[in-house]
Symmetry: C2
Subunit: 199 residues, 2 copies
């Protein structure tokens, strides 16, 4: 029992490092970039607020939340991969598999299995819960971008076409939210904070 | 419907501000103090790891997680209250009640009611779920303090007696974790990073 609790505490100590993994998204007050721990909190609460937009409407919100809490833990070893950086994206899977083995391997086996299974469900995007979770993971940075006058889009020269291509998973996981975002991107282009698709 | 989604997005934008509410706890690498959003994420994942230590052992983990995700949202308006600052603690309740009215009032009424109810359950510490949630909320800063050589304890001249008095709620919510912490505090005193009770 002591050994089991020691392993649990060891993992909990390791979690602290996700607070130092920086994302490309800016906080809405533009004071600094966001980290992956606070991002995970934000989208987990979003699941509580927006669960009704899942297709069919009756997802297991508890599992969506747990997936979102766990989905970025591998970044403790693998780092955050900027979604528009194709070279970085290509090596992402191998890095994250190794990270999952090490990090979830710190836990007692039954709990480690559960964490790995939630992470794999999120990554596979097959279940309604995983589709909604992925949609929320995409929605939040788009909102933060829009409400910082497109700061990260502009810093990285991102176009409307790239945002649409990258985030089309939202169309399946939360069609009404996708329509909302499609409209938001039109407004972003009209405001001159996002490059139009053709340019 | 458009109005409902607008209210949901309005609330989600407001949530971003919790990432700028600073706590007294240091990150384990001592690079900076922690904020309330990433703290909330940390303890929500801890609930997934440590739920078995609830007395009786069969709490609704999903509700524990949701309580922990929501419990600090009022700090967006009310700020974080350092638990050893008795003057600040005395005005805390009124500030947080006003914050709950404004913040949860941004949401569509059905969702706002649910958030308020989770926050009140956490604050009232009556249910097994609320007791475990409160225990985890106390456990995490103690671990961060211990593994930063008592940085926040030392900065604020905190003694073992104060830590015990403040965190005794853990004895009810997670007795085995409380025993673990009691032992950790002994080691902290022995290492000279926490003032002994008598001094």
């Amino acid at each position: 029992m002591a050994d089991r609790l020691d392993r649990q505490i060891r993992f909990i100590r390791e979690l602290d490092r996700l607070k130092s993994v920086q994302r490309q998204t800016w906080l809405m007050d533009t004071s600094r970039k966001e980290n992956s721990a606070e991002h995970s909190w934000h989208i987990a609460v979003m699941a509580m607020v927006l669960a009704e937009y899942a297709p069919g409407g009756d997802v297991d919100v508890g599992r969506v939340i747990q997936m979102l809490l766990v989905h970025d833990i591998v970044e403790i070893d693998a780092g955050d991969t900027f979604c528009y950086d194709n070279a970085a994206v290509s090596g992402q899977n191998g890095r994250e598999q190794a990270a999952a083995r090490r990090l979830f391997g710190l836990l007692p086996e039954d709990i480690g299995r559960k964490f790995k299974s939630l992470w794999e469900e999120f990554e596979s995007r097959q279940t309604p819960e995983a589709l909604l979770a992925n949609a929320l993971d995409r929605l939040q940075p788009i909102l933060n971008n829009y409400y910082t006058d497109g700061k990260s889009w502009q810093d990285n020269g991102i176009s409307r076409r790239q945002v649409l291509a990258r985030n089309r998973v939202m169309a399946e996981g939360a069609p009404e939210l996708w329509a909302y975002i499609d409209n938001l991107l039109d407004r972003a282009v009209a405001k001159g904070i996002l490059r139009p698709s053709a340019s």
